[in-house]
Symmetry: C2
Subunit: 280 residues, 2 copies
């Protein structure tokens, strides 16, 4: 497994693989890997791709006051996990390697970037889209893998790829959950045991909604959201949003059907967590 | 010469050329070709490239009230010029082919996009950067050719390519002038004979500045700009700006030296014209 921190080195490594006829599969991450990332990597390996993982905590997608500086980092642990998964190459650029000063160019999407997460984290998706565009231009993958856990990010990246004519297939993969139901996230490490227990209310509320839809055939969004909010508000957490939306454009829907989802965010103490349930 | 209006068709045409070992040279245009465009195409051919020209009047770079609808178009004339130059492929997409609705994604640069042309045409360079990103992703050229006539555009595209990690070499080429000194531009067709005579004052002022710098060794920007403005204001045209700037970042300079330029814009009746002189 090659571990490279220079754009030019990862480019020539990938160029060699491409010349040997391999498809390039790309899993961009911010490191502190968990089973969600691993599921994406395994999917890329199963697809027969030369599999590249990037580890880069992107300052551009954090606002001042967010958790950029305390975001968990453990590159040695990450690399040994990636080695076990037989990843072909890992790109671990420094901030200086990624962003030559002054960095002036930004990629942004109107409308779908401003809803839900975007309303609570203005500029977040502009940072995400900018770094993903850069990584796509460096790696030039045939396929890139993103998890449904960050549903809005996945939807925005798909739209960006279509709007900007990237010739890249975006492959979504299901959210991976810990045995207690909490969606796998690098940020779960912030939670104390007590906070983790409280945090479970979000996945419990979503699970309840899923059951109401699938076993009781209740599809009225207002009723489902009201029930979900009641569950969340019964716990000592701050509900930021819980909305039923069209997956394509994140517009609110009145009825749960194919291609809709319920997306939510809570704060447990200082820790923001997101989760969702989707009907693909 | 292949003339193709579908992204998928031009992609596979270029893929074939690339597989045969050729470098891809790209000249993006809005059509109504003139000798400036032809010089870019000849440069690409001299470089031994498989040469692609795109013809697309990009609505995103015109503001409401600008000349999008009356922008000159003559595809048959363009194609016969391109045929004479032995261009390999021409991409002539429709607006619907380029922009699937809703188009939400934009590429923008802060700072250098807001000066000079940007101050008079807010959003213009956002439209330019967005369409050029799309075209780069479709064509995936090794080299792309841009004229110094649109100096700010060239500088912005170079910066965008660097910031977003496009692996593309941007090749600049000198401004081509008609025998009377007017810089070649598709928009010159808007000028009546009388207006054209008045329009010449811009190239005359720039030529005078060039002579003062190169023969009289006058390098004080304020003195040069004052002299240039005096010449322009002696004619019945509207001076929009005339500024001495650093080429890299378009910041004002006090002294003309290597990597600076004087950029200007005037309005002759309803017709906006730009021109410049640069010291590379």
């Amino acid at each position: 497994m090659k571990v490279l921190d220079k754009k030019s080195d990862i480019r020539s490594e990938i160029e060699d693989a491409r010349r040997s006829g391999k498809k390039i599969g790309f899993v961009p991450t911010m490191g502190f890997l968990h089973q969600g990332h691993i599921s994406l990597i395994r999917r890329a390996k199963e697809d027969g791709c030369f599999t590249i993982v990037s580890i880069f905590v992107n300052p551009l997608q954090f606002r001042p006051g967010e958790d950029f500086h305390r975001y968990p980092r453990d590159t040695n642990r990450d690399l040994s996990m990636l080695e076990s998964e037989s990843v072909d190459a890992v790109f671990t650029p420094s901030t200086e390697e990624m962003y030559k000063k002054p960095h002036l160019t930004e990629v942004s999407l109107s409308n779908i970037s401003e809803k839900l997460e975007g309303a609570f984290r203005p500029g977040h998706f502009r940072g995400v889209c900018t770094v993903v565009t850069k990584l796509f231009n460096i790696v030039k993958p045939d396929r890139a893998y993103f998890g449904w856990k960050d549903a809005q990010q996945l939807i925005i990246i798909k739209k960006m790829v279509s709007d900007l004519d990237f010739n890249i297939e975006i492959i979504p993969a299901p959210t991976v959950r810990d045995p207690d139901g909490l969606a796998a996230s690098s940020r779960n490490t912030y939670l104390s045991l007590q906070e983790r227990k409280r945090a479970l209310v979000l996945s419990r509320a979503l699970q309840k909604i899923k059951e109401m839809v699938e076993f009781q055939q209740i599809t009225d969004a207002a009723a489902l959201i009201e029930c979900g909010k009641e569950i969340i508000n019964s716990e000592n957490v701050e509900l930021q949003y819980l909305e039923a939306v069209e997956l394509e454009n994140l517009e609110p829907v009145h009825t749960i059907k194919k291609n809709t989802g319920v997306l939510g965010a809570i704060k447990v103490g200082n820790v923001r967590l997101i989760d969702n349930i989707i009907w693909e």
